[in-house]
Each structure stands twice: as structure tokens, then as C-alpha cells.
């Protein structure tokens, strides 16, 4: 249940930070410019907290599968933060071409960030699954060994 609530909150946060809806809203005038800027600042603040947490986790869990692959997650957070900055460039820029280009680049960075997160979770899951598989094989082998000893005795 706690996991579900956490996933929901994360999803909501992510959807709110995706540039496309924010950009569309900004151009239509529904969302005031200051709100976009504040949202971006909050996003960057959260990105900094995430980076600090990720680095701390890397130090605490150094050598573990979670820490070994954490560079992917850090890169993803950097992508999201860069996307925010590009979004700001789009807000402050008066040149239409630059606005379009930075909006497109921001979208690409969000996609890249999601891809990096996917790689991170995939690699950790595969590593932990491999560990479980190895242990199961060892357990089965030890059971076989005990049975052969019993039959010999």
C-alpha cells in the first residue's frame, strides 16, 4: 500500500514536471509565467536533493549492485535538471526558433532521463535476480550432496 502511494506520488510529480504540458499551458496563457519559473526552481531544488541522496547512497552501499549502477540514475537526474533549465531558456527567450529548439531539446532530455532510469532498474533487477539464481543453484547442489552422502552411508 505504501509502495502504491509512493509510486502514485512519483508519477504525479513526474507528469507535473514533463515539459510538454507545461509548454502547451504556457503558450495558451492559462499558466502564468511566474508559476512555470517557480515550478522549475522547485524541480531543480529536488534534483539537487536527489543528487545528494544518490551520492550518499553510493557511499553507504559502495560495492553493492545498487551503488555500482547508480551512475545511470545520477545521469537521469542530470537530464531532468537540464530539461528544466532548457525550459527556462524557452520561457525567457524572445526568438521563436530558439523557443522551439529548446522545447524540443528539453523533451529529448526527459526521454533520455527515462531511458537511463529504465537501464538502472533493469541492471539492478538483473544483478539481484542473478544473485538469487546462484543461491538457489547452490542450495540445490548442497541438497544433492547431502542426499548422496545419506545414500552412501
Amino acid at each position: 500500500m505504501r509502495w502504491l502511494a509512493g509510486t502514485g506520488a512519483l508519477s504525479l510529480m513526474f507528469v507535473a514536471s514533463v515539459p510538454a504540458p507545461a509548454f502547451a499551458a504556457g503558450t495558451s496563457g492559462v499558466v502564468p509565467e511566474w508559476l512555470s519559473i517557480v515550478a522549475g526552481a522547485v524541480g531543480l531544488g529536488i534534483a539537487v536533493i536527489l543528487l545528494i541522496d544518490a551520492y550518499s547512497l553510493k557511499r553507504v552501499a559502495e560495492g553493492s549492485m545498487v551503488a555500482v549502477n547508480i551512475a545511470y540514475m545520477i545521469s537521469a537526474v542530470v537530464c531532468f535538471a537540464m530539461s528544466m533549465i532548457l525550459r527556462w531558456m524557452a520561457i525567457f527567450s524572445e526568438e521563436a526558433t530558439l523557443v522551439d529548439q529548446s522545447a524540443f531539446a528539453a523533451d529529448l532530455l526527459v526521454t533520455a532521463g527515462m531511458a537511463l532510469l529504465a537501464v538502472y532498474f533493469l541492471r539492478v533487477r538483473m544483478a539481484l535476480s542473478g544473485y538469487l539464481r546462484d543461491a538457489a543453484d547452490l542450495y540445490a547442489a548442497s541438497l544433492d550432496g547431502d542426499e548422496s552422502k545419506d545414500s552412501d552411508g
Partner: protein, 76 residues
């Protein structure tokens, strides 16, 4: 400097909980059975493995804790 068996237990735990926690876990589990990381031997492995399940369950969950314990027990 820990003995070879303690180092092997630490290496077994490292992929799951990392170097720092693995070192601390081996130290704690050795003390829990009344020994130190220098004096543990193969006969202590079943007891250490059993205690590790309880210790690791909170950190990595039942399944991974059981897997790590199995690997430690099979170091004998």
C-alpha cells in the same frame, strides 16, 4: 586483518549490501556467536548464516536475505 573465511563472507555479502555493511555484518555476526573476525572458522558458518537471515531481512527482504545466507552456508 580478518581471516580468509571472514573475507570470503564479506565478498559474498558485498553485491547485495555493499562493502561497509558487509564488513559490519561479518563483525557483528562473529561477535554474536562469541568470536571475532580473526577466529571464526568453517564450523561457525551455519550459525552465522542463520543469524544473517534475521539481520539482512530488514535491509534487503526475505528472499535476498535467504539467498545470501545460503551462499554463506555453502562457503564451507
Amino acid at each position: 586483518m580478518a581471516n580468509l573465511l571472514a573475507q570470503r563472507i564479506e565478498e559474498t555479502l558485498r553485491p547485495v549490501i555493499g562493502t561497509v555493511l558487509a564488513t559490519v555484518s561479518v563483525d557483528v555476526e562473529a561477535k554474536r556467536i562469541g568470536k571475532s573476525i580473526d577466529t571464526i572458522d568453517r564450523t561457525d558458518l551455519p550459525a552465522i548464516a542463520q543469524n544473517l537471515v534475521d539481520a539482512l531481512r530488514l535491509v534487503v527482504g526475505q528472499e535476498l536475505a535467504q539467498a545470501a545466507s545460503t551462499k554463506v552456508r555453502n562457503l564451507a
